[in-house]
């Protein structure tokens, strides 16, 4: 009973219980995400195993510069989100808001860079279909994975931007008491990060010396 009851959602009686339940619920949700992306990675594994030569030829076309730049951007946003979450809990409202805004800006930057990368990929005929660059089996499979995985990741990231921006709509007075919300938000944002950390080597480092 260390916090005012105003921040309690039904049916919780203490902030401690609410925080544990909220974190528990989010972790369960993250488990579902692990299985969701797990199915996608299984597709990757099967394709790469089946036609590895063609798969690697296709993979070499992925633009490592865009990928690496985006990795740096997203890892930095992970840091700002972590600082923002701690600052909220410690009651440092201006710092928390600054860090939340930085996270949003970095997330948006990621999407912009991704957009440029998509344009370059389309210009290089890397969309599977009649105009696809390679005829060798496996190359189109890599690009099918590339488009599906990066778009699904981008959708998760966009949803994340919405969830993170919600923290800015909480008034200054209430923000420190909403630290359980900040924890939940940060957990989701780190999911977006960690999926990218796995995608990066799978997409950009295959078939390169």
């Amino acid at each position: 009973m260390t916090q005012p009851p105003a921040i309690l959602n039904e049916p919780w009686r203490t902030p401690e219980r609410q925080q544990v339940a909220m974190q528990f619920g989010i972790w369960l949700f993250l488990a579902t995400e692990a299985l969701f992306f797990g199915g996608l990675f299984l597709f990757y594994a099967v394709s790469r195993f089946t036609d590895s030569a063609g798969f690697e030829i296709g993979a070499r076309e992925a633009d490592i510069w865009f990928g690496t730049a985006n990795t740096a951007v997203l890892m930095t946003s992970s840091l700002t989100m972590a600082i923002g979450e701690r600052a909220t809990k410690e009651g440092l409202v201006p710092l928390a808001r600054l860090m939340v805004m930085a996270t949003l800006a970095l997330g948006a930057t990621f999407l912009v860079v991704k957009g440029f990368e998509y344009r370059s990929d389309i210009e290089k005929h890397l969309v599977p279909g009649p105009a696809f660059k390679y005829a060798i089996r496996g190359a189109a499979q890599f690009w099918a994975f590339y488009w599906t995985a990066t778009v699904v990741h981008a959708i998760h990231l966009t949803v994340g931007l919405g969830i993170v921006s919600r923290l800015l709509f909480i008034s200054k007075e209430d923000l420190p008491e909403r630290w359980t919300t900040a924890i939940g938000t940060a957990l989701y944002w780190h999911l977006v990060d960690i999926v990218w950390v796995i995608l990066y080597p799978l997409l950009y480092l295959v078939g390169r010396p």
Partner: protein, 559 residues
């Protein structure tokens, strides 16, 4: 703590609403559509699944009518494909999977563990809206044009060749999947975090354990369905070569992903049924559940091993011999916990004071039909037999014994058992007993001939068949008439009971669960007191006799 009793309200129709309860707490449409009360959300779900149950039933009626004649005079090949696809998709995803968890689970689970609410009430309401949106998408896909792939969406037919609304139907199922996930997360968190004082894990009613086990399966299996349907969607909509063998894709990968969800989905359908039946049998036999701990571990084992048997759907898909061997063995293994449960229900009945009330008749029907369904499952788990029986009516009969004979019987058992608690009214017992017996009879009448048809070699999903199968098909269709009556009849007497039924006392069955210690219908916050649990569940016979009323909140008892 006592609650002041406000004067009885009446509705516009002049109907007395009775005591203050969750039903009187707001009577406008918006008070229902915007509710976060788990009990009202259960009612919302009940309306939705009842609609889908009768829609899927209408498709089944069409199938049985078509199969009366070997020449298939009523429907074209394509119409027949679309009809059984509609039946499968609606019944699996919009009735069976949500049926018991979202209605009785939502209503009873928080009360039977002594909680005021589920852990995330707003997400609970959100899940209902997801269900409605997904349901409407699929509903339009199936009725306006239809889908001809079967409920299994096998590639490459679904992705490259089918000329039907695969995209819309898949999108609807995808959305509904998230409603399952939300319900699962809510239940797991509720059971971990909101048990009443003294409600230890080994004092949880078996229904709560069943909800826990099924939630685990929903949370861990449904995302795999989501990604599978997403992959089908992108291949069909954008031409990305995912499963297309011309570009190095593997259609068998689709089957692995699909059955990795869809086999555990069978346990999503049957675990809640096991929970309901355990409650009903213990209460109506006035006995403690025989081997409570084994019942708990059996359910958890079913939930876990259920994830390891999906390959038995693919014995003839070109799976390796070694994989067939392993999946066959594991499918035999999962029969062990199922058998433990059947033996323990039987053990619970032994020396019980059995009341053949309607819920009990349904529950006993469940045990028998589930046993037949389970034993025929062993036939199909055996590779040599399965090669012969794959895609015949034997398979159709087998899974209908589990899903319809098992889960639907248990759904009706639970519906009648908790009806007085949910509505505050008693149902007409004689009618209900008659419906229960008719359902058991009609079910066997419909589906037992299909075992024989399957052994004789009639394949599933064909509406044209050789003359020699007609007698059994007509028998099955006649049985379906009886079964249809048994499903429609409760709709009438339960509707009557809703308006004219006798007011129910708080605990009409002298049951021990916490949900029976509160009022009927319960108040919005479930309890007028803080439940304090001091004993194991099912204390129906403390000292070598069966006294009239022993509640779980009473003093400790030595059995």
């Amino acid at each position: 703590m006592t609650v002041a009793q406000p004067p009885h309200e009446t509705t516009l129709l002049g109907r007395d609403l009775g005591e203050e309860s969750y039903l009187t707490d707001g009577t406008t449409l918006m008070s229902w559509l915007g509710t976060t009360d788990h009990k009202r959300i259960a009612i919302l779900y009940a309306v939705g699944i009842t609609f889908f149950f009768f829609l899927g039933g209408a498709a089944a009626t069409l199938i049985r009518l078509e199969l009366i004649s070997p020449a298939g005079r009523m429907l074209t090949n394509d119409e027949y494909n679309r009809t059984f696809t509609l039946h499968g998709i609606i019944m699996v995803w919009f009735f069976l999977v949500p049926s018991i968890p979202t209605t009785m689970g939502n209503f009873v689970l928080p009360m039977c563990i002594g909680a005021r609410e589920v852990a995330f009430p707003r997400i609970n309401l959100f899940s209902w809206y997801l269900f409605v949106v997904g349901g409407l998408l699929t509903f339009f896909a199936l009725l306006f044009g239809g889908v001809d792939t079967g409920w299994t969406f096998y590639t490459p037919f679904s992705t490259n060749y089918s000329n039907s609304n695969v995209l819309l139907a898949a999108a609807g199922i995808f959305v509904t999947g998230f409603s399952s996930i939300a319900t699962g997360i809510n239940f797991i968190t509720t059971i971990h975090m909101l048990r009443a004082k003294g409600m230890t894990w080994m004092r949880l009613p078996l229904f709560a354990w069943a909800m826990y086990a099924v939630s685990l399966v929903m949370v861990l299996a449904t995302p795999v369905l989501a990604i599978t349907l997403l992959l089908v969607f992108v291949e069909r909509a954008f031409g990305l070569p995912i499963f297309d063998p011309r570009f190095g894709g593997d259609p068998i990968l689709f089957q692995h992903l699909f059955w990795f969800y869809s086999h555990p989905a069978v346990y999503i359908m049957v675990l809640p049924a096991m929970g309901v039946v355990s409650e009903v049998i213990a209460c109506e036999a006035r006995r403690r559940v025989f081997g409570y701990e084994f019942m708990v571990y059996a359910m958890l084992m079913i939930a876990v091993v259920g994830f390891m048997v999906w390959g038995h759907h693919m014995f003839v898909s070109g799976e390796s011999q070694f994989a067939n061997l392993v999946f066959s063995f594991l499918s035999f293994v999962i029969a062990v916990p199922s058998a433990i449960k059947v033996f323990n229900w039987t053990g619970t009945l032994y020396r019980g004071q059995i009341r053949f009330s309607a819920p009990m008749l349904y529950a006993l029907g469940f045990v028998g039909l589930f046993t037949i369904g389970g034993l025929t499952g062993l036939f199909l788990a055996s590779v040599p037999l399965d090669i012969d029986l794959t895609d015949t009516y034997f398979v159709v009969a087998h899974f209908h014994y589990i899903m319809v004979g098992g889960s639907v019987s248990a759904f009706f058992a639970g519906l009648h058992f908790w009806w007085p608690k949910i509505t505050g009214r008693l149902y007409p017992e004689r009618f209900a007993q008659f419906a229960a017996i008719t359902m058991f009879f009609g079910f066997n009448f419909t589906f037992f001939p299909q075992f024989i048809l399957g052994i004789e070699g009639m394949p599933r999903r064909y509406h044209l068949y050789p003359q020699q199968f007609q007698a059994l098909n007509v028998t099955s269709s006649l049985g379906a008439v009886v079964l249809a009556f048994a499903y429609l009849f409760p709709l009438f007497y339960l509707a009557w009971s809703l308006f004219r039924g006798e007011r129910a006392p708080n605990n009409p069955w002298d049951a021990t669960g916490l949900e029976w210690q509160t009022r009927s219908p319960p108040p919005t916050r479930n309890f007028d007191f803080d439940p304090d649990v001091r004993a194991a569940p099912y204390g129906y016979h403390p000292e070598h006799n069966a006294p009239h009323e022993v509640s779980q909140t009473h003093e400790p008892q030595t059995p």
